[in-house]
Amino acid sequence: MGQLDVAAIRSDFPILSRTVRNEKPLVYLDSGATSQKPTQVLDAERKFLERSNAAVHRGAHQLAEEATDAYEAARSAIAGFVGAEARDLVFTKNATEAINLVSYSFLNATLLAARSDSVDPELDRFVLAEGDEIVVTEMEHHANLIPWQELCAKTGAELKWIGLTDEGRLDLSDLDSIITARTRMVSFTHQSNLLGTINPVAPIVQRARQVGAMVLLDACQSVPHMPVDVVALDVDFMAWSGHKMLGPMGIGCLWGRRELLVDMPPFISGGSMIKTVSMTETTFAEPPQRFEAGVPMVSQAVGLHAAVDYLNELGMTAVHDHEVALTRSALDQLEKIPGLEIIGPRDLVDRGSAISFTVEGIHPHDLGQVLDNAGVAVRVGHHCAWPTCRRYEVPATTRATFYVYNNENDVTALVEAIRTAQQFFGTV
């Protein structure tokens, strides 16, 4: 079970000792949707709010100074967690906003360029022309699909995608005909939240570089679960959420390559992102401030800082090993259940701990209900990856996801509850 002391970890998470549905112990297998928070994170946020709460980058008083320090220290720590520099990390409300920030950079640059007499060389890289192409994959979360559909609908760019193999992997066989000289952006997920697949970043980045396209990596399901070094990955943008990595809700991250960030026009505009303002003209601050309009989520940044400290303490390699061990055990046991089919890779190579499956004769909603009744919290539905469900011709799946606080007992509880459901619905 890796090197994690799961018993000690569990004691840091108050919610894990609660019961649900008639005193059943909670078996939380929905961390892929959102993770639970350890006391260390809750305490850090509370301490900030009881001691140093103030608006950042604005006041001249001690609280404002402390709040600014806490906010910027969080930025450094969180950037450091993925091998990045603080000044290249933008805080957003969630990963969804982070991806939209980039898609809207293309939209806004295109509109501003169309109205300016001279071609502004700074905007140029983000200006789209009719027929330009954006590439995603068939395993994207809606957060990394719809923003690009919307961008295309508004600019005349075309959306293309990399398909999937029956095994639940990206089909890279025709990569060169999908990513072409017309491709401006390739945006794909590091780890599928539905299939569990960990995608190969290098060949896609390499092809994108060949044709001069940018690359955005949706790291929502990788940064919380394994060591991620954004410099080594060599992508241009990376987006992820705080709430899936033991941190608070309401905070997400966008990392961007410096030379791109400085060229991007603002997305959300307002206070604290300006250099000068008059009624008729405004100039903008340098990144990351340019992209953080309004009073930001300071206490949440402080909480996320505590979360990365917690994860660093555990060690991300140990976290990943732990999850792989649980995944191995879960796949082994699940595959023995008659009528159960895994949607996604069955081997452990390049695979995270999200396990989606169907059970013959039982709709996922009904299965989820029986599991819930047994205290086992899973997610059922299309997991915001509806096209992926369509690809595998299932209307929905049941999905279990594991994290640092899960253990063998949780796997056993899952397996037993599925068998109970089969008995209840009389399918075995």
Partner: protein, 157 residues
């Protein structure tokens, strides 16, 4: 609650042996509804007669979804076909009320018939949409036949 209270026999029976399933002609309107959280779908056709309070001559449907949504569609067929629209909508209203009661309401068996079995489902907010899917489609289809004056609302539950 134990599972048997939620999945009452009548629900499981309708789920296993749905009544009236399949799309049929003739029909006055056809609608398709989905449950956005789980992807469950129904395509539903309604045929009314020409009366002042028209009678529902047929409801035919094709659907995909959990036991709750399938049983609900099957019971809809049983309860609604042959009734005037006014009565069908009374059942619909009572059912909506029951499903939004969080299990606190005393179901009116006379009006609800087999739908009474859904009282356990009403305790699970995530399942309410499953139970109502066919009924919202019915309302939509009838309103399409009867024209906009019959459908004051832009949106449905």
């Amino acid at each position: 609650m134990d599972m048997a209270t939620m999945y009452q026999e009548v629900i499981l029976d309708h789920y296993r042996n749905p009544e009236g399933k399949g799309l049929r002609d003739p029909f006055g309107a056809q609608v398709s509804h989905v449950n956005p959280t789980c992807g469950d779908e129904i395509t539903l056709r309604v045929q009314l007669d020409d009366g002042d309070d028209p009678v529902v001559v047929d409801v035919s449907y094709d659907n995909q979804g959990c036991s709750i949504s399938q049983a609900s569609a099957s019971i809809l067929y049983d309860e609604v076909v042959g009734r005037p629209v006014s009565e069908a909508f009374e059942i619909l209203d009572s059912f909506v009320e029951l499903m939004h009661s969080k299990g606190q309401a005393e179901p009116d068996e006379d009006k609800l018939g087999d739908l009474t079995a859904f009282v356990g489902v009403a305790q699970y907010p995530a399942r309410v949409k499953c139970a109502l899917l066919a009924w919202m489609a019915l309302r939509d289809a009838v309103e399409q036949i009867q024209g906009p004056e019959g459908s004051p609302m832009r949106e449905k539950v």
